[in-house]
């Protein structure tokens, strides 16, 4: 089967889980015998991608493909929907316009069996490819604008693109039941058009890691004194619910003082979070690392005992599985999709500060509980394979193709 895969990023040039998911999904599809044309909006070298053909829609470097992160659509979009290609690529709409025309050219006289578009970023190109070739369009929703904007409405233009793509798609893949529910209720798409396919997780691609106990030496020292380290490793945006988490940290410390909190990452809420920790009188128990990658990023998972995913709205939440891989006990909001495929975890509603505090204390105070959670979740994520995801995709492609032919 020939698949046109419309993506926005691939590792190592990814800013989040989208690139990781696209990489593994494509690889598993290739292993299942498919041939894949993968279109990217930038030019760069991607190691270990020999299993598919990568097409660069522009000559931009990975750093300049957006002028901003792939996820931060809210702030800077001027409508350049119909701007002619060839003009300067100053913002994401310019890049998208160029991406669309590249795809149009690519598929002319060379129709794929299925078009697989990922998120609002490539939806317009997917619609165009369908228009030109008549091949079935599968829109894969990793995140909606509702997720990205927390509880706010978000960017209306992005909404419009999403809405159009969901209407035009022959089938829709949602990465969780939460996401499906948003698609059905907020975009008014019939439920039977949307299939939930949870992401896989391939722990073997996390390169072997040698922990360096000097990276977080102070935390290591506290651990020898009986402290428990709870962490979040994320972007500091409204979507991630970190204000609630900080308040829960303070609440937990009222009852149990041998807890420290590692806030790893950066983002627009950083200053607010720092101020809040001081206002709550717990700044000595909260550690900010700034943006981290590589050794420090891996060490942050390793030094932690508990990983909290405090998101207000998280379609999936790959980082929770990365944390589990590093022996963390997981506490995940009920608003995070990854919680749907795991049993050995604590869940809470993102606004329920007391419940999160309670769960933090429970784990810190009981080694038995921590061990049950830690070992239990490892058994569970081992079952989430990309090969299964690929099989689900292939049967969706065939089903959609039959429908288009009929």
């Amino acid at each position: 089967m020939n698949i046109l895969m419309l993506g926005w990023e691939l590792p190592p040039h990814n800013s989040g889980g989208l690139g990781v998911a696209c990489f593994h999904m494509s690889k598993a599809l290739a292993l299942a015998g498919s041939s894949i044309d993968f279109v990217l909006p930038y030019s760069a070298y991607h190691p270990n991608t020999g299993f598919m053909k990568i097409h660069a829609a522009t000559t931009l470097s990975p750093l300049h493909r957006n002028g901003m992160g792939a996820y931060d659509s809210a702030s800077a979009i001027t409508d350049a929907l119909h701007r002619k290609p060839g003009e300067t690529l100053t913002n994401i709409r310019d890049v998208q316009a160029r991406y669309v025309s590249f795809v149009e050219e690519l598929v002319s006289g060379n129709a794929p069996d299925a078009i697989h578009a990922h998120d609002w970023l490539t939806i317009e190109a997917g619609i165009k490819a369908k228009e030109v070739t008549g091949a079935p369009l599968i829109v894969h929703v990793h995140a909606t604008e509702f997720d990205r904007s927390g509880q706010n409405f978000g960017n209306p233009l992005v909404h419009e693109i999403e809405e159009q793509g969901l209407l035009m798609a022959d089938r829709i893949i949602a990465v969780s039941n939460i996401t499906k529910s948003i698609i059905v209720h907020r975009y008014k798409i019939p439920a039977d058009k949307v299939e939930v396919v949870h992401n896989g997780f391939d722990a073997s691609v996390m390169e072997p890691h040698t922990y360096d106990d000097r990276t977080y030496a102070y935390l290591e020292h506290l651990k020898t004194e009986g402290y428990t380290v709870a962490t979040t490793i994320t972007r500091f945006t409204v979507q991630k619910g970190l204000i609630h988490m900080m308040k829960a940290a303070a609440r937990a410390l009222e009852r149990y003082d041998k807890l420290v909190f590692l806030f790893a990452g950066d983002g627009e809420q950083r200053d607010e979070l720092m101020r809040l920790s001081a206002d709550l009188g717990i700044s000595d128990k909260v550690f900010f690392t700034g943006f981290i990658r590589g050794q420090r990023w891996r060490d942050a998972y390793t030094v932690a005992d508990i990983f909290v995913m405090s998101s207000v709205s998280e379609p999936f939440g790959l980082t929770a599985l990365e944390a589990a891989h590093h022996d963390n006990a997981l506490i995940i909001t009920k608003q995070s999709g990854v919680g749907e495929v795991l049993s050995s975890i604590f869940r809470y509603d993102f606004w329920d500060i007391d419940r999160l505090a309670d769960q933090l204390i429970a784990i810190a105070a009981s080694k038995a509980l921590k061990d049950e959670l830690t070992y239990g979740v490892k058994r569970e994520y081992a079952r989430l394979t990309w090969a299964d995801v690929a099989q689900r995709c292939l049967s969706l492609y065939s089903g959609a193709a039959r429908k288009v032919a009929a």
């Binding site: 009222e254 009852r255 049993s343 309670d358 105070a365 058994r379």
Partner: protein, 408 residues
């Protein structure tokens, strides 16, 4: 020569489920069991629901059968926590049970008041709970148990020896094949190391046909007809004296809903059996007095009536469960010495085996999420609330004793 028959035994129990008791409640309020939410932690709501679906209609049916069939008889075990809840939430249910017992054809089997696993943690506490239960049964129904069952039918030789030494005439266990080997569960046995007591083993195949399979439409025998079931019982009785049908009382109306036809089935089945000249119903103690033991049976290791493993792993299989009970029983001396009746009662209600059952994680292994019923979102939540309540009990103990039991 005595007639072969059926020994029917129904188990009646409700636990005091712990509410979403948070660490912020600890040392502030001690109302672990008072949940007024719309969740399944609301003990009153659960009790009233089950009363409507099971206790009331089944009591009516049993009463009717006792009236219609002078030879019908059976046994019940009713926990103290059930009786306490019934008295508080639905006193008519207790009156109904009393009316059954008053016929003289319904035996009450002894057990621990709190449906606990105390036998495996503290012999002293176990004996206190058994006699507390006997007192309650005497006060409520005017009878004293002469047979014994341990929580979840958790049985071993030591338990049988204890019951024998206390003068019980009969004791109940699972009739588990690896133990029975070539023997039939339809015989009575003499437990190893005892002199007088008789062991009745559950015929789990015929019991589970009703308790688990009756309403299952994908079961190849569905729908089960009285004639078929009677035929199976007859075939089984080719060996032994009595088919021991042991099951939860809630089988009728709660596990098997009214629309499965379970009540009609039971009525017809009991009527036909009672009308036969060559067949009888026995209570547990009557069976022990009627039939002779076929031989000695030894169960050095604990056997229960749960899961395919028939062991205690649903209650003590993971380290959370073990930790929870270890900490709970570690408080025993301090709690008893406090003489604080409210505290002692709370401590005992925490011993109900259901609490640790809700912490069971073994079903995660096969992803069979529906295998275990629990009022909590997860086993971890169950552990969380239990431990918070336990911490509060430690706090309460500090009023009485200078040193607490350590730990957080």
């Amino acid at each position: 020569m005595s007639h072969k028959g059926i020994t029917l035994y129904l188990h009646v129990h409700q636990p005091w489920r712990i509410r979403d008791y948070s660490i912020f409640d600890a040392a502030q309020r001690h109302d672990y069991f008072d949940d007024e939410s719309s969740t399944d932690r609301n003990n009153q709501a659960v009790f009233l629901k089950v009363a409507e679906k099971s206790y009331r209609p089944m009591n009516r049916l049993l009463r009717r059968l006792l009236d219609e069939q002078p030879d019908f008889r059976f046994s019940l075990s009713i926990t103290g926590t059930f009786i306490d809840q019934a008295k508080r939430f639905a006193p008519d249910v207790i009156a109904d049970f009393k009316a059954l017992v008053d016929t003289g054809r319904v035996e009450i089997v002894g057990e621990t008041y709190h449906h606990s696993l105390a036998f495996f943690y503290s012999r002293e506490e176990f004996e206190r709970q058994v006699s507390q239960h006997a007192d309650l049964i005497q006060a409520t129904f005017g009878v004293t148990p002469t047979s014994f069952r341990n929580t979840e039918l958790a049985y071993n030789d030591e338990l049988a020896q204890w019951a024998d030494s206390r003068g019980y005439k009969a004791i109940l266990s699972e009739g588990w094949d690896p133990i029975l080997e070539w023997r039939s569960p339809n015989h009575l046995y003499r437990p190893a190391g005892t002199s007088d007591i008789a062991l009745l083993t559950k015929n789990y195949r015929l019991s589970d046909d009703l308790a688990f399979r009756f309403g299952n439409k994908s079961w190849k025998e569905w729908p089960l007809h009285v004639g078929t079931y009677e035929h199976w019982l007859g075939a089984s009785l080719a060996h032994g004296d009595t088919v021991n049908l042991f099951m939860d009382y809630e089988t009728f109306g709660e596990h098997q809903w009214v629309d499965t036809g379970i009540f009609e089935f039971f009525h017809d089945f009991v009527s036909r059996w009672a009308e036969r000249e060559d067949r009888r119903f026995y209570t547990v103690t009557q069976a022990a007095e009627t039939f002779a033991a076929a031989g000695e049976l030894s169960m050095p290791h604990t056997v229960t009536w749960a899961d395919s493993e028939r062991d205690l792993t649903a209650w003590l299989g993971n380290s959370m469960q073990q930790e929870a009970l270890r900490y709970l029983y570690a408080l025993e001396d301090d709690v008893i010495r406090s003489k604080d009746q409210r505290l002692i009662a709370d401590w005992r209600q925490m011993q109900t085996s259901d609490h640790v059952y809700y912490m069971c994680t073994k079903w995660f292994r096969d992803g069979d999420v529906h295998a275990y019923f629990s009022p909590y979102d997860s086993p971890y939540d169950a552990f969380l609330f239990f431990m918070n309540a336990l911490r509060d009990m430690r706090f309460r103990l500090m009023h009485y004793h200078s040193s607490s039991n350590g730990g957080f």
